[in-house]
Subunit: 143 residues, 2 copies
């Protein structure tokens, strides 16, 4: 079947720091690991709306989407769960972080801290992409 689950994820930037979350112990997949906001599109849901919904549900923040920066594919658990994912770079707009049951902790980290953190290794490429873009784009750039 040429159909996929679609994951969306957000690298949320606020004053040159990025929101990192720890998955709850209650999660069935990768409990207790560090990540960004992530989620899965609902039926017939456009990806950017799905991302804003997930950001709100998981952090209660309002953000603007700067642009998509990374796409990929993986199996979430087993072969019956093929997932295409799209990672967006987002800019903090307003609100205070309030976590849902899905996460147990949050921290705002600078890129060099993230790139030094072994637990975030699988996300390093995505943060390097954000870093490469930031070298050239104006601060208020939204694609």
């Amino acid at each position: 079947m040429k159909k996929f689950y679609v994951g969306i994820a957000g690298i949320i930037e606020k004053e040159d720091k990025y929101l990192i979350l720890r998955r709850s112990n209650e999660k069935d997949f990768l409990p207790n690991t560090l990540e960004m906001v992530t989620g899965r599109l609902e039926e017939n849901e456009p990806p950017e709306l799905g991302l804003l919904r997930e950001v709100k549900e998981e952090t209660s923040l309002d953000v603007s989407i700067i642009m998509p920066v990374h796409t990929g594919f993986f199996y979430r658990g087993g072969k019956e769960f093929p997932m295409v994912f799209i990672m967006y770079w987002c800019l903090y707009k307003k609100g205070q972080v309030k976590l849902s049951w899905e996460h147990s902790e949050f921290v705002w980290m600078a890129i060099d801290e993230i790139l030094a953190e072994k637990e975030l290794e699988k996300f390093h490429d995505m943060f390097k992409k954000v870093s490469r873009l930031k070298k050239h784009l104006p601060e208020d750039f939204l694609l």
Copy 2:
């Protein structure tokens, strides 16, 4: 069902012009209309590999992917065909355009020509995004 078909598409740039194709009369969906390289991911296929496969099949060109620039959702035909799509900006590497049965014509167009072409109206936002990025990024930039 929270599953989607995943469409991938490529805006291929060569010397500040972009490859526009005309869909064949034989296509079941939107015959005879202008578009870029587009396709659908095969079972378990990562999106960037799927894009390079489609570019090769439809144009015989080799390209580098610069970055994803646009994502969206639509129904291809009916409600039973929900599709998430990812549009990538690509840089021509080598080869000469050879069309498959899927297209009847091709032309390389400058962005201002594309933005003046009514038949390409639904792609204008994506080309404006490429144009905004090009203002800031170095010529050889690959994300």
